[in-house]
């Protein structure tokens, strides 16, 4: 499909939309911008519905990471005897890693089923389809906000004072969202055609939790593996988070971080490109 501008025979200049087979839309991003209000209202809907008529809605966002944090602290710190980073209390370090991890996993989970879950909209109205998986990032960010308050309370409990680096955290939150959206968009598009991809998500989330440095610091990874370990984009994101939150001597392993950034960019490009290529046929497949 192509969005085109043509001069009208009449006096007024007007947009003429030309629909044709197999044409990439030239003004994709401008079109997306025009639909920002719909994005906002769909995101608001998802958040409102999530916390409406649920007693444990907010509690769930607290209980899940809290219990995971307690268990990880016991298993990795007490039983396995792994060290924390630059003298930060182990629970603080775990939670600082868990925040971006939960952000990633909930975006991945929610986005992958979002198109199928909104099939009534897809089949009846036009809008840039990317809006739907993108709104799941907003719901995940609301949960992230709640978790962040929890982290702040935990730091206060341990009387742990963060450094100025905490101010850079928003940048890393954006990085975490971008790192999630790449694979999320790819799997979302695949899931429209092959519904068994929804079974893959829980698997990725489950083993990803152990493959990524959530319960432990990435400093425990042997030096010669550290670079290749950063092929997992979440490694860079979590390291960045800990660098911001824990501060002190906690140093960012730069080559690994840059590698993670590259992987994030590559995945995002693949995700967006694949999504754009397939989104025009969603209505026919769903």
């Amino acid at each position: 499909m192509r969005l085109d501008e043509e001069q009208f025979d009449g006096a007024s200049k007007q947009h003429v939309l030309v629909l044709e087979a197999g044409r990439a839309e030239r003004h994709y991003w401008r079109d997306l911008w025009a639909y920002r209000e719909l994005f906002a209202i769909l995101a608001w809907r998802d958040v409102a519905v999530r916390y409406k008529q649920t007693v444990i809605g907010v509690a769930w966002a607290i209980v899940r990471p809290f219990i995971t944090m307690v268990i990880f602290t016991i298993v990795f710190s007490r039983l396995a005897g792994l060290p924390s980073e630059s003298g930060a209390p182990y629970p603080v370090m775990v939670l600082a890693g868990m925040l971006p991890w939960f952000l990633f996993s909930s975006i991945l989970t929610e986005a992958s089923s979002s198109i199928v879950g909104n099939s009534n909209l897809i089949g009846k109205v036009y809008f840039p389809r990317i809006i739907i998986p993108a709104t799941s990032a907003v719901t995940a960010l609301v949960d992230f906000g709640i978790n962040f308050v929890m982290l702040a309370l935990l730091m206060a409990w341990y009387a742990f004072v963060p450094s100025w680096r905490l101010l850079l955290l928003p940048g890393f939150v954006i990085l975490a969202v971008l790192a999630s959206l790449g694979p999320a968009l790819f799997i979302t598009a695949l899931n429209v055609k092959y519904r068994d991809f929804r079974y893959i998500i829980p698997f990725i989330v489950q083993f990803g939790l152990y493959v990524s440095p959530v319960g432990f610091s990435s400093t425990v990874v042997p030096e010669r593996w550290r670079f290749w370990y950063s092929l997992n984009p979440i490694v860079g994101v979590i390291d960045g988070f800990r660098w911001c939150v824990i501060g002190g001597e906690s140093a960012l392993y730069l080559p690994g971080f840059l590698l993670s950034l590259g992987v994030v960019a590559l995945l995002l490009w693949i995700g967006v490109a694949y999504f754009r290529r397939t989104e025009r046929s969603f209505a026919d497949l769903i």
């Binding site: 025979d9 629909l19 209202i41 009846k124 092959y194 046929s281």
Partner: protein, 426 residues
């Protein structure tokens, strides 16, 4: 593109590929694809080993939902699109509303399109009426400020003021439809695309919506594309019409002419075919009903053709039982049972029996016909329930002052038993 042409479609086509797999499953699972690929590899290996030509892939069938459709719609025009089920009306609307992409051809659209393929798209049961107005409005392409501006009008039109802050899951289905339509009725796009949405809601509300649509059409400011099975609505609301048949444009003309053409082209209303061998003395083998306009276009006939197999030369009677859409009995056509002279004489073998009734004997509506074949007043040879369906569309326009009002109201005439006149004011 000329200044006042809003939509121009050129050679529009939409192809769907129907495979045997996609027919069976609602969606593809990677597992099945993998299994099929393995099967294909095996099949090809076997074919190659036996020295045959390798069979090509999986058997798939191409289906053109739309074929070479071209038309133009001018500013302020109200175009009615009619056609049988599966004629491609909805596919056309989906292409125009950008939901799906054409396979061939192109459409140029000059203006903002709002499509109403369903009322209440995106309504969320947990949200309140107020919240759903904003949500649904945004989904249909209204800006937040436009919704805020029209909010009171929308609530007023829907008639659910009292429950506006109640979650819509507590609404009756009628209330939900009214609220949804109220939002849709206040859309102000340059081009409005409407699919069969008037089929929902109670009669009262339908009238209100048709009125609102008529208002819009009369203003001439908005271009409307309107798909409906309600031929009288198309005839009275639309200026021009487009008749689709199996994906192709059969006729594009003035709305009334297109509707008339549709009624003629659509003359085979329904058919029945017996798929078991005949066992009885006389058996109904097949039947069909056509709408016959050839003799007199002003007085159309319902022509029933029955094909009856007789085991010997014999005399039978036929009864046609008529039910309305809800299964309520509304009429009976007896042939040969009440009057000895009307008895039908069959010869051994297959006989064709034709029965004609004026269509105006039926009130507007849909009916189901059951056919009985009997030895007059003794025993049924064959009874086939609900084997044929007919649709009588009155096309009567209540605004007409000409004396054809009886058309569409059927053959029951109730004479007044007592009429009195009392002057109230002197």
């Amino acid at each position: 593109m000329a200044g006042d042409v809003m939509i121009r479609a050129e050679g529009l086509g939409k192809k769907y590929v129907i495979g045997h797999e996609t027919e069976r499953e609602r969606y593809t699972a990677l597992r099945d694809v993998a299994a099929r690929m393995a099967r294909n590899v095996w099949k090809r290996a076997v074919d190659a080993a036996r020295g045959r030509a390798i069979a090509r892939g999986e058997a798939t069938e191409e289906f053109w939902a739309l074929k070479d459709v071209s038309f133009e719609v001018k500013r302020g025009e109200v175009l009615g699109i009619i056609g049988r089920n599966g004629a491609g009306k909805s596919t056309l609307l989906k292409i125009l509303s950008r939901i799906t992409e054409p396979t061939a051809g192109r459409v140029s659209i000059a203006g903002r399109v709002a499509s109403l393929l369903e009322v209440g798209t995106g309504f969320h049961p947990e949200l309140t009426g107020r919240e759903n107005i904003y949500l649904n409005g945004a989904i249909l392409g209204m800006s937040r400020s436009a919704i805020r501006r029209k909010f009171d009008e929308i609530v007023d039109f829907s008639g659910v003021e009292k429950f506006i802050d109640t979650p819509v899951k507590r609404y009756s289905s009628g209330m939900q439809v009214r609220l949804a339509f109220a939002v849709a009725a206040h859309l102000e796009p340059e081009i409005l695309v409407i699919d069969e949405v008037l089929a929902v809601g109670d009669a009262e509300f339908q009238k209100k919506c048709l009125g609102k649509l008529g208002e819009v059409a009369a203003l001439g400011a908005r271009t409307v594309l309107f798909v409906s099975h309600n031929l009288s609505a198309v005839g009275s609301l639309c200026k021009s019409g487009l008749l689709l048949d199996r994906g192709e444009v059969l006729c594009a003309d003035e709305a009334r002419k297109v509707v008339a053409r549709y009624v003629q082209s659509n003359n085979t209303l329904s058919r029945y075919e017996r798929n078991k061998p005949a066992l009885s003395e006389a058996t109904l083998m097949s039947a069909n009903v056509v709408y016959d306009l050839h003799q007199s276009p002003d007085a159309p006939q319902i022509l029933l053709s029955l094909s009856i197999q007789a085991k010997r030369d014999m005399e039978i009677s036929i009864g046609i039982r008529v039910k309305d859409n809800f299964g309520a009995p509304v009429g009976y056509i007896p042939i040969g049972a009440l009057n000895q002279n009307e008895v039908i004489k069959l010869s051994r073998g297959i006989n064709r029996v034709e029965i004609k009734n004026p269509a105006r004997d039926f009130a507007s509506g849909s009916y189901l016909l059951s056919v009985d074949v009997a030895l007059p007043n003794v025993v049924y040879y064959d009874r086939v329930e609900d084997c044929l369906a007919i649709d009588i569309d009155g096309l009567s326009d209540t605004r007409l002052k000409a004396l054809d009002q009886a058309w569409g109201w059927g053959s029951i005439v109730l004479p007044p038993s007592n009429v009195s006149v009392t002057p109230i004011r002197m």
